[in-house]
């Protein structure tokens, strides 16, 4: 997972006006917007800029952060648990033979 461009500890050092400008530019996504993009975030489908916006929102918003954490664990379990059945060996032979006939 890649690091966001800004860390919360850097923000604390900013003067008040810049602080406000920073938030207006980067952090103005709502919890609803974050929720909408949850799966794009988990699937690695966000552009770097959008990824940073979500990341920052998660650093600032405890509610969303806790939900995302839970969703991430759940997502991993679903991926792991749906892994594959074995291919019946006879199927491969059957298909190869059929191709033989087609030749």
């Amino acid at each position: 997972m890649k690091e966001g461009k800004f860390l919360i500890k850097d923000l604390i050092l900013l003067p008040k006006k810049m602080y406000y400008m920073f938030f207006k530019r980067h952090a103005m996504i709502t919890c609803e917007e974050a929720a909408q993009r949850l799966y794009e975030y988990l699937d690695g489908e966000l552009s770097p800029a959008d990824y940073d916006k979500i990341k920052l929102h998660l650093e600032l918003c405890r509610n969303c952060c806790q939900r995302f954490e839970f969703e991430e664990i759940l997502h991993t379990i679903i991926r792991d648990k749906t892994k594959s059945d074995k291919l019946p060996p006879s199927l491969k032979d059957k298909i190869l033979k059929e191709l033989e006939v087609k030749e």
């Binding site: 799966y39 939900r67 954490e69 664990i73 749906t82 019946p88």
Partner: protein, 199 residues
């Protein structure tokens, strides 16, 4: 050199190339077919048809492009034709809407407040729902199940899925979102049925 021999050699090369390119995906195709068709014999038939069709159309496949996605697109068509059913567009069928964070919300509103933190400990959530993931997936309507299979099991990107199912990326996104919330509802229902949680 006789012409029949030249043709035979050419066919042999073509067949070898086909096998080298497509056989590595047979397991994935079989698994997807099994999840969609539910029965082993059916799944085998679907994969067989997919390979025959792919072989017939191999000259249309562009070398170096995404072979796995190409095969999955064929598999999907075989599945649809075999059952003469359309994988309906969920936009035209009414499904109940499941809210965001469904499982999280159920767990936090019906259980003691510390329960969610307990479940976040390593391995806990897996103990809690792990067993039911496959049955929950099996219970989804086809149009939701297929996008979950393509994304979560096969690891296709949204763009690849969009190509396979022939719908825009926006549709893929919203279908995946709805499918996963639907899946969470099923997981919650299982947990309730098993008496793992208070309702």
């Amino acid at each position: 050199m006789n012409i029949r021999r030249v043709v035979a050699e050419h066919n042999k090369d073509r067949k070898r190339e086909f096998e080298e390119t497509t056989i590595p995906y047979m397991n994935s195709l079989y698994n997807a077919a099994l999840r969609m068709a539910r029965e082993r014999a059916e799944a085998e038939g679907i994969v067989q048809d997919t390979y025959l069709l792919a072989y017939k159309n191999f000259n249309k496949f562009q070398r170096g492009t995404n072979c796995k996605a190409w095969l999955f697109k064929i598999l999907r068509n075989v599945f649809i034709n075999r059952y003469r059913k359309n994988i309906k567009s969920p936009d035209t069928v009414q499904y109940e809407e499941v809210e965001n964070y469904y499982l999280y919300n159920q767990l936090t509103s019906h259980q003691d407040s510390s329960y969610i933190d307990f479940l976040k400990e390593p391995g806990r959530l897996e103990e809690f729902i792990g067993e039911d993931v496959n049955s929950a997936l099996q219970g989804l309507p086809d149009e939701f199940k297929e996008v979950v299979i393509l994304s979560d099991i096969e690891g296709f990107t949204y763009e690849e899925i969009s190509h396979i199912i022939g719908s825009p990326i926006g549709t893929v996104k919203s279908r995946l979102n709805r499918a996963r919330r639907f899946l969470q509802k099923k997981l919650w229902d299982y947990a309730v049925k098993k008496g793992l949680v208070k309702r």
